[in-house]
Symmetry: D2
Subunit: 123 residues, 4 copies
């Protein structure tokens, strides 16, 4: 099994930036800032939809959502590359941490507790 597909993505983005001489712009600070902009664009796609509508997007909005989600991922991968950490390992560690914080048998079906934890995505 290969390390992971994110490694390939990391390599492609590294080459992409190098070919364009964009590394000078890609400080972690700037990348984190750019990521918030893309996250904001992603949120904007949903802001006037009801939750129900958000579960069944029309094709045009679905296309835009995928593009914005991709933008977030690309900056995230680039940030991890610049700071030299493994994004998937970080995600694994966070899931384990969340599993300890929110034991299934204690939080199940509890909206109140859910909200207290504030990280119901396992995030």
């Amino acid at each position: 099994m290969d390390a992971d597909s994110l490694s390939l993505l990391t390599q492609r983005l590294r080459a992409f930036a190098a070919e364009r001489e964009w590394d000078a712009f890609h400080s972690p600070k700037n990348l984190a800032m750019a990521l918030t902009g893309e996250a904001g664009e992603l949120a904007a796609e949903f802001q006037w939809l009801t939750e129900l509508e958000s579960r069944a997007l029309d094709p045009e909005r679905m296309r835009r959502v995928q593009e914005e989600a991709a933008d977030v991922l690309l900056y995230l991968v680039r940030l991890a590359d610049k700071l030299q950490f493994d994004l998937l390992e970080a995600a694994d560690r966070k899931i384990e941490l969340n599993a300890r914080r929110y034991p299934a048998d204690r939080v199940r079906g509890s909206a109140k507790k859910y909200d207290e934890y504030k990280e119901p995505g396992g995030a």
Copy 2:
């Protein structure tokens, strides 16, 4: 090659939410909103650092940055799962789109053009 590590992550998060009966909260709208919150926390780690400082984080901040970056990834993976699209395919499509938009020989070394494009991360 296996599908990809993000598939495994998708599976784990799906089980995590199911065990806690959190699916009702995970509308795409809510997930996108939660993602902006995590992106904001990630940005907050860098907000008072210089760009230079952001390239060499102390261990404690590095730990927090990895945790916040993981949070963003987890919500992103969960959003893609709920909307049933492949995050890596979306990222590949976006890179190809960016390659056409910002041909390397036209944008190289140009801060001005870089900024006009506004998506120098290849994003």
Copy 3:
């Protein structure tokens, strides 16, 4: 009419930063970044609520929402001060622009058009 209450707020924040020698940190770039962090914290208060629930907050959440909203305003006022523009004048111009863009008799009661405009807040 007096200049406005935002002028007083601007003065207070200017003194607050000066007394603490924080001006070096308050570049417009950093302030804009800090603002996204606070906006993310504000959003986080609502992320798992239904729209209906968000219209009737319990006292504890209401307190936090007011505090996060205040944080956003403080950074916004500070940013405008650093860049030397009048926030209220900018808001007035934007409302006039929106009034031309979204004539009431054309957009009334139209969710679809509303969404296309994407700026239904008059923003």
Copy 4:
């Protein structure tokens, strides 16, 4: 002296939404979400600038920054109106809270402490 200019702004936005029958869209949840989108657009204007560059914007970018800052303010005012709290009073309370948290003689000139507090804007 009138209460404050934000009251006038509140009234104008209330009329603006009513004329367009947009109130149904303006749940606090949706407004908070829209605000993050605008905060992200504001941040995007600064993301590739150095801090120094961000202190001296060219006229075209300055125009866009003012427009995005106005958008943030408009949604913030609208949110406070919908939740029926006074934005300026909330800001005053927050400044007083910050003054107690970060006594000038203790935090002066301390980048480290500044960062620990994480809210150097007085926010």
